[in-house]
């Protein structure tokens, strides 16, 4: 479920770093907490963000969650398929439910992110 090649944030985003770019999404834990997702709002391609900036929102029938980027950088692609069919976020959050691709800032610091094992431990604590 929680892939070893991803990094994870305390805000329940996953980050898959591939060289100078990364793909970002929300974790299975997050989609489960939110319930059936009905709206996804993503940033525009070309927008730049600092780490921990709010970049969009995800709404389920009953709740709204802000979306943050754990990584500083520039948005190079957004997943319009998720905007059109938000249900993908529930059914496949770690693959087809990806949200944005970013070009990582040269000075970006990813040391605060967790490994899959650390994240699993983290959500065990949140679940209790």
């Amino acid at each position: 479920m929680y892939l070893d090649e991803y990094l994870y944030s305390k805000e329940h985003e996953w980050v898959h770093v591939e060289g100078e770019t990364c793909v970002l999404g929300v974790t299975d834990f997050a989609q489960h907490q939110l319930g059936d997702v009905v709206f996804v709002e993503l940033p525009e391609v070309g927008q730049t963000f600092e780490a921990d900036d709010e970049i969009g929102s995800i709404e389920s029938v009953k709740a709204v969650a802000e979306l943050y980027t754990p990584v500083a950088g520039e948005v190079v692609e957004t997943n319009e398929a998720v905007v059109d069919d938000p249900e993908v976020l529930n059914s496949d959050p770690h693959n087809n439910g990806w949200l944005i691709k970013m070009k990582i800032d040269a000075g970006a610091d990813l040391s605060g992110l967790m490994s899959a094992d650390q994240y699993k431990e983290f959500i065990d604590g949140e679940d209790a």
Binding site: G35, D36, V38, F39, E41, E59, S60, V61, K62, V64
Partner: protein, 367 residues
């Protein structure tokens, strides 16, 4: 759920845990908000059936020779016209004509009534009844003696008929009968809060888990699913049914809330009557409207209705409608904005979204 020690559990708590429900704190109770998922549960109720645990609701017995005249004075609907075996929707009002709570009154016998109130208001309401008591009336807060199951949806009559000898077709809407369900005594009431056909089963806590399990067992082939408070809220909102703390509270009157039909001015005096009479002459200043968000987004309780940057009204409930696949809601707006087809602007977390005033209920079941 750090202070789960102080939260109360319904008699069906173990059933919810077995079913893997997501449990939340609701009005001091640990309640299932969803099982498989809100959308699936909502759809099950609209197309087949859903089973809800609403045991957190409060039940009061009102008995005695003066029970009728007492309820006639503390509630605005006409209790004298309520026949044994029937129920009606009513309220507790303040002297200002605003809501203490909304409630159901069942006439069990000539001199005995069952009053059903919202969980969050049990203590307040009972205190309210006590403080207005007069004459030969006995009041009992019997909330702990009742479990309450709601079986809702088009398949509900068929499913329930497999576990009871009671003649269900004879129980018409807002009527009830005493009977047995899976061998347990129950008051079978044809009422609900979903906009669908269905029943509410009032029964002793001990038998409730068995009735819950048996219903799910015999209803499984029909698509019956356990349904949580999440679906209960989206279902009632599609049916545009008021919820205390949202559409009605101690700042809103029945006139504004579109609940004037529950107020029987001709029956004589009752608490709140003179204030309501004074207000009815002037006409409601604002009214509760239904809206559909036409921009992308969902308006929710507390969001403002704005005109020229100024807040003129407020959203009382808002959600994504699983049946209609749109963002819908209810809001109080000035009379001038309450026309069907009118465009209104909603302030959704700082973003202005367009919405259109549309007819309520949003959803009406086909008979």
């Amino acid at each position: 759920m750090s202070d789960s020690e102080s939260l109360r559990k319904t008699p069906l708590h173990a059933c919810h845990e077995e079913a893997g429900a997501r449990l939340v704190d609701f009005a001091g109770w640990i309640m299932p908000v969803q099982y498989r998922g809100l959308m699936a549960e909502h759809e099950a109720v609209r197309t087949a059936a859903g089973l809800f645990d609403v045991s957190h609701m409060g039940e009061f017995h009102v008995r005695g020779p003066d029970a009728e005249s007492f309820l006639q004075r503390v509630t605005p609907n006409d209790v004298a016209k309520l026949r044994v075996g029937r129920a009606h929707y009513s309220a507790l009002l303040t002297e200002e004509g605003t809501y203490v709570d909304d409630l159901l009154v069942y006439r069990l016998a000539k001199e005995e009534f069952l009053v059903v109130v919202n969980a969050a208001n049990i203590a307040k309401d009972f205190q309210w009844f006590e403080s207005h008591r007069s004459g030969a009336v006995e009041l009992e807060n019997a909330s702990d003696r009742y479990a309450l199951l709601a079986l809702q949806g088009p398949r509900a009559p068929e499913i329930l008929s497999r576990l009871t000898e009671t003649d269900l077709p004879a129980i018409r809407y807002y009527r009830f009968a005493m009977g047995e369900v899976a061998g347990h005594r129950a008051m079978i009431s044809r009422t609900g809060y979903t906009g669908e056909d269905g029943f509410e089963l009032y029964m002793a806590p001990q038998g409730a888990p068995e009735v819950w399990r048996k219903l799910l067992e015999v209803g499984g082939e029909d698509g019956l699913q356990p349904a949580g408070l999440g679906a209960r809220d989206t279902l009632r909102l599609e049916a545009a049914m008021a919820l205390y703390g949202h559409e009605i509270d101690d700042t809103t009157t029945p006139w504004e809330a579109g609940l004037g039909w529950t107020i029987k001015m001709a029956k004589g005096d009752f608490v709140g009557r003179s204030a309501l009479e004074a207000l009815s002459g002037r006409g409601a200043q604002r009214s509760l409207i239904g809206f559909e968000v036409t921009d992308r987004g969902i308006a929710r309780q507390g969001h403002g209705v704005v005109v020229d940057g100024e807040e003129v009204g407020r959203v009382t409930s808002g959600t994504y409608s699983p049946t209609l696949k749109k963002a819908l809601g209810l809001a109080y707006v000035p009379k001038a904005l309450a026309e069907l087809g009118q465009t209104v602007t909603l302030n959704v977390r700082g973003k202005l979204l367009a919405a259109t005033v549309i007819e309520t209920p949003f959803y009406r079941r086909s008979k």
